[in-house]
Structures are given as C-alpha cells and as structure tokens.
C-alpha cells in the first residue's frame, strides 16, 4: 500500500456498474459500465477503469466500499453498505444542504430523508413493482422508437400533459400505444409518462415527508423531462450539481470508505 490517501466506492446496480476514486477527499476518477451477468467481474472492471482515469493502481487504495444489488458478491470490497446510505452520503458530499433525496435507478426508486451530516433519518422504496423506474422509461423509449436519452428533451417540448397510468408498465405501454393511435402528439404523451412516474414518487414522499434542498440522483436524474415533472408534481426546486447523478451511490460509497478508514484507524488487508 502506498501513501496516497485514496479510497474507492463501487456501486453495482441493476443496469449500470459505477466506480469512483476519492483522493484527499476529491473525486479523482470514475467509471460507468453496463452491468452484465457477472457482478464480481463488473465491479472489478469498473474499479479498474476508475483507477485508470485517476492514474492509480489497486494497491494505492486504502479502503473500498461496495454498494448496490451486486454488493452481495464484492470480494474486492473491505465492507459493503446499502445504496440507501451511500446515496445519502453521496448527495451530502455533492450538495451539503441536501435534506431530501429522490433516487431513481434501473429497478427501484427511493425517497430518502437525511440530516445535516448526510445520515439517513427515514426512507421509503417502491415495493414489488418496477413501474416508475428506469426500466419503465426504457420500455416507453421503445414504444416511441427513440433512445432513452431523447425522452427528456422530447418531454420538454410538450404543450399539454396527457394522463398515463402509473400502476403497471404493461398497461402504461398499451395506453401509450392507444394514445398514439388516437393521434395525440408524442411529446404530450411522453410528458404524461414522466408525470405518471412523478406521481408514483409523490406517494413515497407522503410517507417520509419532503424538505429542501431536494437532490435527484440515479440514472433517471439525467432525464431533464423527469426533473421538470418532479418539480411540478412535488412542488419543489431540485438542486442541480454538476456531477453525473448516476455516480452518486458510488461517490457515497467512496466517502464512506474514507470515513470508515479514518474511524477504524487501522484497517485490515483487502481480501482481493
């Protein structure tokens, strides 16, 4: 191990695997790859790429935290933490005034409340059904035959919000096809889809409450239409940090790695 003060966070999600390297408390490198069938290899590959972008080697790392659904198979990590805690830490790192986080990933969405130090004080997640998540938007992008990245800009061109069901991805898909067949403008339907998701999220906040500043993390946070729909439905302003929102969990994992290292004082060797 070298004397570089370097820490890593690896977030193996259902769609993307992300890794972030922190050096002296600053983000020095990161990577984002598509999650494949082998979560151990995905995690290691993402970590290697992040290390490359930071011009570091694995031996330079003092501590690694794994998070996301793939954390269950993360032999390279010193410790694993849930992504709820990591998103809280990551959002607080990027925007310390954060008190509420909306995290929308590939298969779930979370409403997280945090205190002034980024500690989770309450949270709620979607149960059972993946309607209202990244997968939902992927299905909708297929219906409109556009790339998922185009959905947000298209939504912003809408002239009205057409109501679309938020309870089931399959029903929403057939509803969308029906609206298209009726001759409705695709942009108006697309903003309706975004509002449907936002309304679902609103239900989560009825359980945990909402307090400014509100931070939006996860892959879906890249979608400008989703951001607008959430602001309208939740009646809040969403903070707009510059970093890639999909990396927030990995950033939080890296921040946690540094804190755990400092807390323990003397860290055991990594297992891989």
């Amino acid at each position: 191990m070298t004397n570089i003060n370097a820490f890593a966070g690896v977030d193996v999600g259902s769609l993307g695997t992300k890794a972030v390297i922190l050096v002296n408390g600053e983000i020095a490198g990161s990577s984002l790859i598509r999650t494949g069938i082998n979560s151990v290899e995905n995690g290691l590959e993402s970590l290697e790429k992040a290390l490359d972008s930071a011009n570091l080697k694995k031996e330079d790392l003092k501590y690694i935290v794994g998070t996301g659904y793939g954390r269950i198979s993360a032999p390279y990590a010193n410790k694993t933490i849930t992504e709820i805690t990591c998103h809280a830490k990551g959002a607080h790192y990027l925007h310390p005034a954060t008190r509420t986080i909306i995290d929308m990933g590939g298969q779930d969405c979370k409403a997280i409340r945090v205190d002034e130090e980024g500690n989770v004080v309450d949270f709620a997640m979607n149960d059972k059904c993946a309607a209202g998540t990244g997968r939902f938007l992927e299905v909708m992008a297929n219906v409109f035959k556009v790339d998922i990245s185009e959905l947000g800009p298209l939504a912003l061109k809408a002239t009205q919000v057409l109501p679309v069901s938020s309870t089931c991805t399959v029903f929403a898909e057939s509803e969308t096809v029906s609206l298209l067949a009726r001759g409705e403008k695709p942009e108006d339907i697309i903003i309706g889809v975004h509002h449907a998701i936002a309304n679902r999220i609103k239900g989560l906040f009825s359980r945990v409450g909402i307090q400014s500043d509100v931070f939006f993390s996860g892959g879906v946070a890249k979608n400008t239409g989703m951001r607008k729909a959430l602001e309208e439905v939740l009646e809040v302003r969403i903070a707009n940090p510059e970093n890639d929102p999909q990396l927030v969990g990995a950033i939080g994992a890296a921040v946690s790695a540094q804190r755990l290292y400092e807390k323990s004082g003397n860290v055991s060797q990594r297992s891989a």
């Binding site: 659904y69 269950i72 933490i81 849930t82 992504e83 709820i84 805690t85 500690n119 989770v120 004080v121 309450d122 949270f123 997640m125 149960d127 059972k128 359980r207």
Partner: protein, 462 residues
C-alpha cells in the same frame, strides 16, 4: 447438483448435552439426549443436508450456538416433524390444518394435532430426503407457483391448501377462523370448496367481527363455535371430548404460556442478548406448545429452556456471533420474519415480534365454563383488537424488549395487515419515538434480497 459443505456439531459439546433432560412426547415416548445427539449428528445430516448446509444467505439450522441445548432440541423437533406426522397418521391420529387467530387448546383436548401453514409446509418438505437448500427452495417455490395458479396470486398462505388439494398430506380437516387478520383465508376456502380433494372436512370458525371482546353475545357465540369445532373433531376421531378434557387442555396450555412469559422476561432483562434473534423467536414461540406438532414434547423443552436462559443471563453469556452493541429490532406483522443471521451480520438482532406472541401472553381462566373462558380469551387477543388497542399493547412489548427500531412487514396478499400497518406504526412512533419502517414482502419467495436490502438500510440508519 454438487454437494455442499455441511456444518457438524462438535463432539466436545456432547458430554454437556447428554446431561440435559429427556423429551417426553404425547404418546408417552421418551427420547433421551443420547438419541437426540445421534439423530442430530448422524441421521439428520444425511436425511436433511439442507438443515446443515453452510450457506451464508440462507442457513436454515435452527440454532447457530452449539452449546445452546434448547436450540439443539428445537432443531431435533423441527427436523423430526415430518416423520412424526407420518407415524401419527399411521396410528390414526387426527390432523387439522388451522389458520387465523386461534389457540390450539380445543385441538389438544380433542386429541388432534393442529398445524398452521408453516408446519404443514414443513411436514411436506421433510418427506423428501437428501436435498440441498437450493433444491428444497426450488421444489417449494414450485409448489407456491402451482398454488398461485390453483388459488390466486393475491393470496399469501397458499402452500398448505395446495398440499391438501393435491393429496400430498393426510390432513383430516381444514379449520380456519374467519378472523379479519387473514384476508386470504377466503381464497383457500374457495379453492378447497371447488378443488378435487373434497374428502377433507371443512370447519370454518366464525370469529365474531373484531372488537367484540366485551360483548356477552359475542363470547357466547364464539364459545358455541368452539363446541362445534370439537364436535367436528370428535366425528372424525370417533372419540368423545368432555368439558374436563378442555379444562385440562387449558391448564396445560396455560402452563406453556406462563413459562414462555417468564422466559421472555428473563431474556429481555439481560444486558446482552443471551441467544441469537432466531433462537429467541423459537424460544418465545414454544409457549403456544403447537410449534412442533406435539404439545408434551414442546412443554418438556420449554420447561428446561427457562432454566437454561436464566443461567445464561446470570453468567452474561452472549448469543452466538451477536455484535457488541446490536441494534435491537422489533418486527411486526402476520406470518413474517426477517433473515436472522443476515440481519445479525449487519449488526442487528430481532428482540421481539407481535403476532403469535399475542396468543402466548393471553392466559385463559381455568375456573368455570372452559368454552366460555377460551372464547373470551381468544376474542381478547391483543393482536386482534382495534388499531389503538393493538398498538398500545405493542408499545408495551417494544418497551419491555428495549428495541431501538420497529419494522412492520406484510406479505403480498395480506391485505388487512397492509392496510393497517401505517396506522399502527404511526401510534408506535408517537408513543415511543423510535424509528420505524414498513415493507411489503413475498411469503416463501426464493430470493429475499429486496427485503434484506431494506432491512440492512434500516439497521444502518439506526
């Protein structure tokens, strides 16, 4: 399928174990510690390798503490359930499949073995030898899927009905109570009424609508239901159950309930948890005397257990692999439970639950009409009361257990518990100030990763 590495009990604990008490069964059979040790170390690993598999995700060993005698004996009773049920049926014993908020005192009185859904599933699971955890999960998941088709995917407790309809198990009578706690009872009943196996009798205990415990008519009406239940059981067995039989059964069950209450007070008073959370749950659960399909056997283990726990608390023994300052969780809801070992690995321990515990804490009057007394006690189960009353009782238990956080779980299809969870938790939050968390889950799901993720996040939050 490749064989898995199996856990083995260490011989160094044998001598101490052999000093423990015998287990006496309903039929008078006595099993010695030597025989139990032999079964657990020689016979069972071959028959049920899944119970010994070293599996960090789903270790199904009843105890992780080799020195905890009660844990080993509970495991013995659990592993032998299937074989004992088959033998009991060969001898003509009546077996009832029960569900809903009921006590088993009437069944004991009528010389009937009462099994709830989990035990029916356990009976069926144990009929196949040599399975790994994975193989058993795939098989039981297949039964669950089959039941979804035959009944409804909206129902949570489906396996028991499915086994009976398929003729897998020799159950004589289905006897659920129409308690409002189980919204899925109706699915099972309809499936049974219209299913191919109509030879199995049906007795539906008409539980008066909730919150009637102080109404004379309701107690009398429910007492009448209990009489009819015993008559139905007698029709099957050809025996005649007397009022004295029910009185004796109540006395016997009260003994179990009292012992479990005393054991819980000792456990909760301990500075450090004297057992793991799973072992605690198994210990408190012994109080209903119904958990192993043999009332007397369960009672003999429970009698010994109380002293064992007292001794461990006196010596400051800490449960196996429990962290130094574990976050104490109280778990609410029907037919739910979190993965004890994984939650303990995350730094937590389950210190209490509400569902069956509600049956244990309610003692039945022993003087006077036993039917009336039993009906009155059953209608007074704290779990079956109004939200405010149930929550007030739960708050008491939470305080006794010194919990740090409260989790309410409800199974997919368990509509009643899902509907009232928020209201119950709101009262608990208001009265205790503790962090709370509500989550839905799938009963018998092959993978509980989603649920574990939420539990771990809650523990991290605490």
């Amino acid at each position: 399928m490749s064989r898995k590495e199996l856990f083995r009990y260490s011989e160094e604990n044998k001598e101490e174990f052999l000093k423990s008490d015998n287990i006496t069964f309903n039929d008078g059979t006595v099993v010695t510690p030597e025989e139990i040790w032999h079964y657990l170390t020689v016979e069972a690993p071959v028959k049920y390798p899944n119970a010994y598999e070293i599996n960090e995700l789903r270790g199904s060993r009843r105890t992780r503490d080799e020195k905890y005698v009660t844990g080993l004996k509970s495991q013995y009773l659990s592993l032998t359930l299937s074989e004992r049920m088959e033998k009991a049926k060969d001898k003509g014993k009546t077996v009832a499949f029960i569900q809903g908020g009921q006590a088993v005192d009437p069944y004991t009185a009528a010389d009937t073995i009462a099994l709830r859904p989990a035990l029916v599933n356990n009976w069926n699971s144990g009929r196949k030898y040599g399975e790994t955890v994975y193989e058993r999960n795939v098989r039981t998941k297949g039964i669950k899927e089959r039941a979804y088709h035959d009944m409804s995917f909206e129902a949570c407790q489906t396996g028991g009905f499915e086994h009976i309809q398929a003729g897998d198990l020799r159950v004589d009578v289905i006897a659920p109570y129409s308690a409002l706690r189980c919204s899925d009872v109706s699915y099972g009943l309809e499936a049974h009424r219209h299913g191919p196996n109509d030879k199995v009798k049906l007795f539906l205990g008409d539980y008066p609508m909730r919150f009637q415990a102080d109404k004379e008519w309701a107690i009398e009406y429910f007492a009448h239901n209990i009489r009819k239940l015993i008559e139905t059981l007698d029709e099957i067995s050809g025996k005649k159950t007397t009022e004295e039989d029910l009185k004796n059964s109540i006395k016997l069950h009260n003994e179990g309930r009292k012992l479990a209450i005393e054991a819980s007070e000792i456990w909760w008073s301990a500075e450090v948890p004297p057992t793991t959370g799973g072992e605690r749950g198994a210990l408190f659960g012994l109080g209903t005397l119904e958990g192993h399909g043999d009332v007397q056997a369960t009672l003999s283990v429970l009698k010994e257990a109380k002293n064992i726990i007292a001794e461990r608390v006196k010596k400051g023994v800490k449960g196996h692999k429990i962290s130094d300052n574990p976050k104490r969780l109280f778990v609410l809801g029907s037919c739910v439970g979190i993965n004890a070992s994984r939650s303990e690995d995350a730094g937590a321990i389950v210190v209490g639950t509400d569902n069956h515990w509600s049956h244990v804490v309610k003692l039945v009057d022993e003087e006077g009409d036993p039917y009336y007394n039993l009906a009155k006690a059953t209608l007074e189960y704290p779990y079956e009361q109004s939200i405010e009353k149930r929550a007030a009782w739960t708050v008491e238990q939470i305080k006794k257990s010194r919990a740090d956080g409260v989790i309410f779980l409800h199974n997919w299809g368990c509509n009643t518990q899902a509907a009232i969870s928020r209201a119950i938790v709101d009262v608990i939050k208001r009265e205790t100030g503790l962090p709370t968390f509500i989550s839905e889950r799938e009963l018998g799901g092959l993978s509980n990763e989603q649920e574990q993720n939420r539990v771990n996040a809650f523990v991290e939050m605490l």
